[in-house]
């Protein structure tokens, strides 16, 4: 545990020094600041922020994670020549990447709210969005590590990372739409709930929808979603699904990492 902490601190230091995280923080700060200055309406700002969060966070996390892992390859090899166990090293690197990135997001995202005094206006929405952002960061860093451990070739790995992002952010919803069109004669509401669990981006999006587009969700379909995702049970299940999206790729990659021949 002590070792994990040591590696973690070193990694955090290293990540922050790379300045990317600072840029990332600054990006969220600017977006939030801009939205509040130009629109003034908190609800509109929330919807725009949600749109940005569910697109940008997965993309940045998965690319940043892969690049970081590939760039630390020599460091990892060097560390592995020391008498330390692979588990501690791996956990240390993982958390050392995910924590600064989520912190960067958290700070950049929260600052405009605090500056404009808008936290209290929609406190539930604020914390929900913060939580979704942080969970998505962890999910996509875990995915990027899985890719990087399996794929030694850096350019192939990066290509795969972008492909996975594209599938989860865009293609998956296209498939969902196809399913809706092809099976329109069947009651699909519950199937949709299950389908959404297989995509962390959709999970994050739907969780947030339940708080902000309530009015649009009052039809029959909306009522079914609302009853599941709007209930405390639904929120807990969704968060567990998101956690599973962190834990499963992490353990898989950890297993590969332990057996990997550097």
């Amino acid at each position: 545990m002590k070792l994990v902490k040591k590696i973690l601190l070193y990694e955090i230091h290293n990540t922050i020094r790379s300045k990317w995280v600072i840029l990332y923080t600054f990006f969220f700060f600017l977006v939030g600041y801009g939205l509040f200055t130009f629109s003034g309406d908190v609800n509109k700002a929330y919807i725009s922020l949600m749109n940005i969060i569910i697109i940008v966070i997965p993309l940045v996390s998965i690319i940043f994670g892969s690049i970081y892992f590939y760039n630390s390859r020599e460091f990892i090899e060097m560390m592995l020549s020391q008498p330390i166990d692979r588990k501690s090293l791996y956990i240390g690197i993982f958390l050392g990447t995910a924590i600064p990135l989520s912190a960067g997001f958290g700070i950049g995202f929260s600052l405009p709210f605090i500056l404009f005094g808008k936290v209290s206006e929609q406190i539930e929405g604020f914390f929900l969005l913060l939580l979704i952002g942080i969970l998505l960061t962890f999910v996509f860093i875990a995915l990027s590590f899985l890719i990087s451990v399996k794929q030694d070739d850096k350019s192939k790995g990066l290509g795969l990372a972008i492909l996975i992002w594209l599938i989860l952010a865009v293609v998956y919803d296209g498939i969902v739409l196809l399913v809706i069109y092809y099976f329109q004669d069947y009651p699909l509401e519950n199937a949709m709930i299950v389908l959404s669990a297989f995509n962390p981006i959709d999970l994050g999006r739907i969780l947030f929808l339940m708080k902000f587009d309530i009015a649009a969700l009052m039809g029959y379909t909306g009522a079914v979603f609302q009853r599941f995702f709007g209930s405390p049970l639904g929120v807990i299940v969704s968060i567990i699904c998101l956690l599973a999206w962190i834990v499963i790729p992490f353990f898989l990659s950890h297993r590969f990492f332990k057996k990997k021949d550097f």
């Binding site: 629109s39 309406d41 609800n43 509109k44 919807i47 949600m50 749109n51 569910i54 697109i55 952010a169 865009v170 293609v171 998956y172 919803d173 296209g174 969902v176 739409l177 809706i180 069109y181 329109q184 699909l188 509401e189 949709m192 959404s196 959709d202 999006r205 739907i206 929808l209 587009d213 309530i214 009015a215 649009a216 969700l217 009052m218 039809g219 029959y220 379909t221 909306g222 009522a223 979603f225």
Partner: protein
């Protein structure tokens, strides 16, 4: 002789005064006149009946003389759940300051707290109606005022709940400053001419906050309709003026800020539509002007069915709605101009305050939802955004003609 003349004069004066001047009859549970029915039987036209504090349970009270009822410290008139309470069949009856309770639920008769039947010039002011089937019921009456009443129903099922204020075949009625809660319809208008509904608050009603049919040339202004089962419905009417009303939190699968059906030559101005499932629903509406309204945080700000023509939408604000407009056709015969759309992201090079490229408020996704409601699950998805952008460049399924050629760059206050 002079004395005799004096006496005759005084006597005739007394006689005369008793004929023309009104007297005041005091009803109190401890006094000699202890019931309202007794007071009415002893009264003449233009008398005032003052009802002292207390509880009076005397069944149906038929008012067939021009009387004024005044309650002192809110006496309670209780029907104990059987029949009607006041039935007014005479002109110029004024009722104020009473608590009217428990008129009977019936499936055959529309028992009311106060019923005005074919009368003129009456007023019902500052009463409290609690737990009545119908609270105030006007039939074939004219020139009456209903002001400052507090009306609270019981909110059971639609079938055994009546309306708060019910008007049938009336004209020139003013309904002002009333608060209506938990009835079936808050205010009900059928075949009314020149009615005015001002400053009322209608909340938590089972069906409509205001239900309005075949009532031409009416006006409603500065009312608040909150959290009613289905919002407000205005149907089969022309020349209605709706201004400064607030429609809020009407949530449900069939819930509307306002539902307009077969309305023509009317005006909807300066209203606020806030957090409704559907802000404004228009079906078969012609030549209606919709101006200076605020649509915020609705599911659908506007649902415009294709059988509506010649409506004119301008100077409205559309902010943070899940969908601004949805429609069921590729045709459009309505005009949109100078509205502010929060969704608009065009530019304004000539700095005249209006965007240089037209805005298309109907997105592909809103058309998709009309045909495939399940696709709602994809709301705000990146994939859908891409589709919407592609559709806005080359319209394939959205109505091409439904555009705002001069969208505002800034919100209108």
């Amino acid at each position: 002789m002079i004395n005799q003349i004096k006496l005759i004069f005084i006597l005739s004066f007394i006689l005369f005064s008793s004929l023309t001047f009104s007297k005041e009859i005091i009803v109190s549970s401890t006094g000699s006149i202890n019931s309202i029915l007794k007071a009415i039987s002893q009264s003449n036209d233009y008398d005032t009946i003052l009802i002292k504090q207390g509880e009076y349970a005397e069944g149906n009270i038929i008012v067939n003389k021009k009387l004024t009822f005044i309650g002192e410290s809110y006496p309670i008139i209780d029907a104990k759940g059987i029949g009607e309470i006041f039935t007014v069949t005479s002109n110029e009856v004024h009722i104020s300051g009473l608590v009217i309770k428990n008129s009977g639920v019936s499936f055959l008769e529309e028992n009311a707290g106060i019923r005005l039947e074919e009368v003129k010039g009456c007023s019902i002011t500052n009463n409290r109606f609690i737990n009545n089937f119908f609270a105030i019921y006007l039939a074939k009456s004219a020139d009456c005022i209903i002001n400052g009443n507090y009306i609270e129903g019981v909110k059971k099922r639609e079938a055994n709940s009546g309306n708060g204020i019910h008007l049938w075949y009336c004209r020139d009625i003013t309904i002002e400053n009333n608060k209506i809660l938990d009835h079936r319809d808050g205010i009900y208008f059928e075949f009314v001419r020149k009615g005015k509904i001002l400053n009322n608050h209608s909340e938590n009603n089972l069906r409509y906050g205001l239900h309005f049919m075949f009532s031409d040339s009416c006006e409603y202004a500065r009312n608040t309709f909150v959290n009613n089962g289905a919002g407000v419905a205005v149907m089969y009417t022309k020349n209605v003026l709706m201004t400064d009303n607030h429609f809020s939190k009407n949530w449900g699968p069939a819930s509307y800020g306002i539902l307009l059906k077969d309305i023509s030559d009317s005006k909807i101005e300066k209203n606020i539509f806030d957090e409704n499932s559907i802000g404004l629903y228009m079906e078969g509406c012609n030549r209606v002007t919709i101006e200076k309204n605020n649509f915020t945080k609705n599911g659908w700000a506007l649902k415009l069915m294709a059988n509506s023509m010649g409506n004119y939408f301008y100077d409205n604000n559309f902010i943070a709605n899940s969908f601004d407009i949805s429609t069921n056709s590729r045709q459009n015969f309505n005009t949109f101009e100078k509205n502010y759309w929060a969704e608009y992201n065009g530019y304004d090079i000539d700095k005249d305050g209006f965007g240089d490229i037209p805005f298309r408020p109907v997105t592909m996704f809103s058309m998709m939802i009309e045909s495939h409601p399940t696709s709602l699950v994809l709301l705000h998805s990146l994939f859908i955004d891409i589709l919407n952008i592609a559709e806005s460049i080359i319209p394939a399924i959205t109505p091409e003609a439904l555009t705002d050629p001069k969208p505002r760059m800034r919100m209108l206050n």
